[in-house]
Symmetry: C2
Subunit: 415 residues, 2 copies
């Protein structure tokens, strides 16, 4: 398949983009891509490729941007139920305590998720995955974290593995048993920390070897935040995970700075995410480490909060910046990386080019998949988008809509 | 056509919703609508209507919300070119003056629009109209205002009339010759005010009688703002329009309070729009008048500004509140009323029910079309949406996507 005559072909070639390199689009005017099977074989100009490969099946991308599929490196894709009623209560001026008393908050999602079977979880997640795909996301990270007990967490994980096997959305997996302290451990986060470290993580490892042995181990993530897990508890969980061989992620500094980002950098985590309140010292530590910084602008937007990740400080420090949706039922039910990108331009002060890189090659790096996806280069997976516009800057400039006209995943047109 | 089994049928019956009535959805659980031709004939419960009309063609809306199509009461739908480069310059830290020096700002849209023929204007507006329709907008107001000379303004108007005739998006028309002071009148807003009042408006009236005599006269609108038209100039233009019989609208208080909203209320304008900096006294004047208050939350969002219309104050004062996208190339290229609604919940502090009413029946009232569209009632036009969800509160709660699954305009499925 030869996709040709793209008004702008964004390759994002050259690997993850640290610091001032962020925004290197590798833009080819009147570009073309030769796809064979599930992979990219050649990238070049339309003139060259039409001459070199005269008898390939063709897709005419005139007047269109062709670019890598978006990679969404932070989602809570699998849960049961919704929290629309809680959203309404918040707008009516109800307090957090009133909402909790009415059965709201993460507790309500945990309750619904624990009660749901794998088929039900899969069906609900599938709808969201379709929405993501239609918006141009071809690869996403997806977390458990609404079970908060081993079997319920594993049902979430099983739903994710089945969803990935169904395709076309490709998933990377994260175990977030330490998303919150469950009701059974109310007032005893230390006890739940031990439960996660000593029972759930070893149980996950056994289960993974039995059910997904051919796959790399999932990430282990922890919500390091006031009201969830403090720094010492977060460290205990991440170190236990590391001893078992799991790669690491962390939720840090969404509301308070507890030191989670610096710790994650020290532990060699693949990414630290949220990072609204991260200190300048930790921004430096992260930039010096290999740990990617994942900004989640949909979350402050969802909560109508004024503070966003100081993304430019991460870039200026030489860090690796990515953006994600944080798709979740409480604060940000957003399936669209295009919208995350529109927010990134306005509230993280990224240019459209920087935001595109943060949503593709850097997002792939934040889940360790940058060798396979996130850019258009010979040998990489053929995950690409045709936009309905000819100038990539319309991503960011325009908002609230969907500029993705066609989605190709592993060489097949899927939208 | 019998649309039945809607998990929630939102009728919005009972007319425009002033003050505390805002948010009266007229919700029928397991509701049904009988459409005959282009109009609604009966509204009721599924059980009743299936029994009463057993042999109608059926649409099963199980698990879905059925509601009136959105009415977008403030758009600048017709222009040529785009300002993506200017958006990028702004993010790179360029000043307003630097952007102007590089040929940016409204001047650039005026230049492109003046150069475009009617066919070209129509083709570009048609794309946007499709985007609006896919997002659930079935009726919209659309303004001229990028010509700033009579013939160029009339070409915009002709494009709008042709677009409306094509359908399915139904338009209400507004002449905004006083959108900005054109370069030919630089430093002489008073001179352009006379030009608009004494030549352009009479010219518009003659043209309308020749080209659209069977239609009601369009609205005449003015941008009453620092740097555009001051209060006296705005009044001169609106009074000249009123003498010729045109109904009135105004852009007021987007950045500065010049007194435009109070003046518009005094003149009996159909609506005053923006209203970010409106004074409490003028909020009272508007509530006592018949003038609708149209909030445009996409504009501060597009500019990443912190100040939004004090919507609750308008409601508390007993006013008629509507929301719109303000679709335009400079500050808010947003085609989706769903997104305006998501902003209205977060930044205007409306509940989803209030935002739905502000986006349907009240939006229809803000363009004088509430007898025809904006609610589902026997005798009204059959403009309705099927959402992909069963709870209307997902509008607002979720964002960045499109929950509209099917659009019916004048009784025909168009999306």
């Amino acid at each position: 398949m030869l996709i040709h005559s793209a008004s702008q072909l964004l390759t994002l070639a050259g690997g993850p983009q640290r610091g001032p390199r962020l925004g290197s689009l590798g833009l080819i005017v009147d570009g073309a891509v030769l796809v064979r099977g599930s992979h990219i074989e050649v990238i070049g100009s339309t003139t060259e490729l039409l001459k070199q490969f005269p008898s390939e099946e063709r897709i005419d991308a005139s007047g269109r941007v062709v670019m890598p599929g978006f990679v969404d490196p932070h989602t809570h894709l699998v849960w049961a139920g919704d929290r629309a009623a809680e959203f309404e209560m918040r707008l009516q001026g109800k307090t957090y305590l009133e909402i909790m008393a009415a059965g709201g908050g993460i507790v309500s999602t945990v309750r619904a998720t624990r009660q749901a079977g794998v088929d039900d979880l899969l069906a609900q997640a599938r709808e969201r995955a379709r929405g993501m795909l239609r918006s141009g996301t071809t690869t996403a990270e997806a977390k458990t974290g609404y079970g908060l007990e081993l079997q319920a967490e594993l049902r979430q994980m099983e739903a994710l593995l089945r969803l990935d096997a169904e395709g076309p959305l490709e998933l990377a997996f994260t175990f977030l048993g330490a998303h919150a302290v469950p009701e059974e451990f109310k007032g005893d986060p230390q006890g739940y920390t031990r439960r996660v470290s000593e029972q759930m993580l070893p149980g996950l490892l056994d289960w993974w070897r039995a059910h997904a042995a051919q796959r790399p181990l999932p990430f282990v993530d922890v919500f390091c935040e006031t009201g969830a897990f403090d720094l010492a508890q977060s460290r205990a969980i991440l170190e236990a995970a590391q001893r078992l061989g799991f790669p690491l992620k962390i939720h840090a500094d969404e509301f308070d700075n507890l030191g989670g980002a610096g710790m994650a950098a020290g532990l060699g985590a693949v990414s630290a995410d949220h990072l609204v309140k991260t200190s300048p010292e930790e921004i430096r530590q992260m930039a010096e480490s290999g740990t990617a910084a994942v900004a989640l602008p949909c979350t402050p937007f969802g909560l109508a909060e004024a503070h966003y990740t100081p993304a430019r400080a991460f870039v200026q420090a030489g860090g690796l910046l990515a953006i994600a949706t944080d798709l979740n039922p409480g604060t940000a039910w957003c399936e669209s990386m295009q919208f995350a990108l529109a927010l990134a331009c306005r509230y993280l002060r990224l240019t459209p080019a920087q935001a595109v890189a943060a949503a593709t090659i850097n997002a792939a790096a934040a889940i360790g998949l940058h060798e396979r996806v996130g850019s258009l280069e010979p040998g990489k997976q053929a995950d690409l988008l045709l936009l309905s516009v000819g100038d990539y800057r319309h991503l960011g400039y325009r908002f609230g809509g969907n500029l993705v006209e066609r989605v190709i995943k592993r060489g097949e047109v899927v939208v």
